[in-house]
């Protein structure tokens, strides 16, 4: 089995050691390349750590405003319906400031693919609480741990989205080879759904933020297995418009 980094990842990424973004960047690139569409793809890239992607990713990209990537992608896709259009966003971007743009893209069943990286905090700005931050998780704005009596529960966006009329919704993680391979399959299914004009596809990926979690990378992956995955269940939730869960 020959393996070589995809051409889209043309220089080394700029993420922290052990950051999941590097793996996800590569998975997106591999899928686009394997499907033969990477030269015909356009990405709308979020603010946050995701914004480091265009510097190292050889696909036509636009830097969206904070939270608006799904709306920007919808504008592109509606003008250029024959191109593959995706967003690449973190949890602060897609679910806090951009909740409305994300949800309404799903509500309108826009024929785009949203790649949503859940690392349960605002990475780029220094590890503040995100909508996905776990109960009791310490962040720089929840120094005593997230108090859900004040902040509400961690946001499971797929639970909110899965009853809408969309094409494909899945959640994967990066904690081991098997999960990474599954996540890659989800990404492929999402892009295929878009190619078939089935509508909105959404892949949430549980990913480590070693720097802000102040964890060794291996420990960070263990934390996802042990503490994150029970809150954000893995699997396929909508496929070809059929609801699975």
């Amino acid at each position: 089995m020959l393996k070589k980094k995809p051409a889209a990842c043309f220089v080394d990424n700029k993420y922290c050691p052990g950051c999941g973004h590097g793996i996800i960047n590569r998975l997106v690139a591999e899928v686009l390349e394997e499907m033969g569409i990477y030269e015909e793809s356009i990405g709308a890239i979020a603010v946050g750590c995701a914004s480091l992607m265009p510097e190292t990713f050889a696909v036509d990209c636009i830097q969206a405003q904070h939270g608006r990537a799904a709306a920007v992608a919808a504008g592109i896709k509606r003008c250029r319906p024959d191109k593959t259009v995706f967003t690449y966003q973190g949890d602060g971007d897609a679910l806090a400031i951009g909740f409305s743009e994300t949800m309404y893209s799903a509500i309108r069943n826009e024929n785009i693919t949203v790649i949503f990286v859940n690392n349960s905090n605002f990475g780029m700005t220094g590890g503040q609480m995100a909508p996905t931050t776990l109960e009791n998780q310490k962040t720089t704005t929840t120094p005593r741990g997230r108090n859900i009596a004040e902040t509400g529960d961690p946001l499971n966006v797929i639970n909110m989205m899965k009853d809408l009329n969309t094409a494909y919704i899945a959640r994967g993680s990066l904690t081991n080879n098997a999960n990474i391979m599954k996540t890659k399959k989800y990404i492929r299914n999402a892009f295929e759904a878009q190619q078939n004009s089935e509508g909105f596809s959404f892949i949430e990926i549980l990913s480590p933020c070693t720097t802000n979690w102040k964890m060794d990378p291996i420990k960070a992956m263990e934390h996802i297995e042990k503490n994150v995955t029970p809150v954000y269940e893995l699997g396929v939730f909508v496929e070809r418009g059929e609801k699975n869960a």
Partner: protein, 352 residues
């Protein structure tokens, strides 16, 4: 083209289609909603895209995407909605993309009043958004001029790769007047090297703030806007040659000033009108060439005399600047004449 009687908003919307625009995303707000309503059926007729977005924030973001794809794209709003567009306008300007924004002004801040007013002058002309950018701003004074400036605005947006704002108001947009519409034209979104279309075999494009890759960005961006200021000033002068008092007014109020000039001239008062058509760049050259002027009166429908500041800057405060300001109720020519007489009689107090 045959003359038609059309509402300002509908003439604007039809001109948008005729300019080859294929993308609109926006949100309802009075008094611009007819633009949205008209384009909802008209754009699909020509193979274009219409989206009623969940907010102005989303609408301008979609426009940002469509413009990046090389398409002629636009949105329209008013007052509070226009405030929400500012984030996107800043991004579009920073990424050097062309697009057209229409602001049908209303009066006052907050909820304000949906009828006549020009109180978004500062927001539109001085930029409501963040950072070092300007939007080119055109102010039509008739339904016909509004539709002409739509096409002109798209052309200028592309020439300078910069957002262009058409600053209309409730009266221009709500009234019907005879209009000859511009010719239908096609736009090719692939003609730009920079437009997002998939990299193909070439180098991947990255649309973001040009600051990140533009060498000597400060000087580059300053020179860009200096160039616009040099080349794109637009104005109309009426009876200014021997005028000792010059009214400065744009949009709907300039028409009333025009009538006031006629009335004052009948009484032998040497009054002229300077009507800025481009509000950014402000037509400072028009002020520099005035030989006989002793005073300017800025006439506008805002409580705070927003444009009077630009009049003072344009004449470098060599002449006193007076103001007739206030919204809700439109001025009558007699109000303007009274102000002129107050100035002559030394009863008015200058604002600058």
């Amino acid at each position: 083209m045959e003359k038609q009687l059309m509402k300002g908003n509908e003439a604007i919307a039809e001109a948008v289609v005729r300019a080859g625009c294929k993308f609109f995303a926006g949100y309802p707000i009075t008094p611009q909603s007819e633009i949205l309503e008209y384009l909802s059926w008209r754009l699909p007729e020509v193979g274009g895209n219409f989206v009623q977005s969940e907010s102005e924030l989303a609408g301008i973001s979609m426009v940002y995407g469509a413009a990046a794809a090389g398409f002629r794209a636009m949105t329209s709003s008013s007052g509070p909605g226009y405030s929400l567009l500012q984030e996107g306008i800043s991004y579009i300007a920073s990424a050097e993309l062309p697009c057209l924004i229409i602001n049908v002004m209303r009066y006052g801040s907050g909820l304000g009043d949906i009828f006549v007013g020009q109180s978004d002058y500062w927001q539109a002309v001085k930029n409501g958004g963040h950072g070092d950018y300007r939007s080119i701003v055109y102010a039509p004074a008739s339904v016909k001029e509004a539709s002409d400036l739509v096409v002109f605005g798209f052309d200028k947006a592309e020439e300078y790769r910069n957002p262009v704002t058409l600053l209309s108001d409730a009266s221009i947009s709500q009234m019907m007047e005879p209009v000859e519409l511009p010719e239908m034209q096609e736009h090719n979104p692939d003609k730009f090297e920079w437009s997002l279309k998939g990299k193909g075999e070439g180098k991947a494009r990255s649309i973001t703030s040009v600051m990140y890759f533009q060498e000597d960005y400060d000087n580059y961006i300053a020179a860009k806007y200096k160039n616009i200021e040099k080349n794109e000033q637009l104005w109309e002068e009426i009876e200014t040659e021997d005028a000792e008092i010059i009214l400065v007014s744009y949009g709907i109020t300039s028409r009333i000033c025009n009538e006031a000039v006629e009335l004052a001239r009948e009484e032998g008062i040497k009054v002229g009108l300077l009507r800025p058509i481009s509000l950014y760049p402000y037509p400072v050259r028009a002020f520099q060439k005035q030989k006989n002027v002793k005073a300017y009166i800025s006439v506008e429908m805002t409580a705070l005399a927003q444009m009077a500041e630009d009049v003072a800057l344009a004449c470098k405060m060599k002449q006193p600047v007076y103001s007739l300001a206030g919204g809700m109720e439109i001025f009558e020519a007699s109000d303007v004449c009274n102000k002129i007489k107050e100035v002559i009689d030394g009863k008015a107090k200058e604002v600058f």
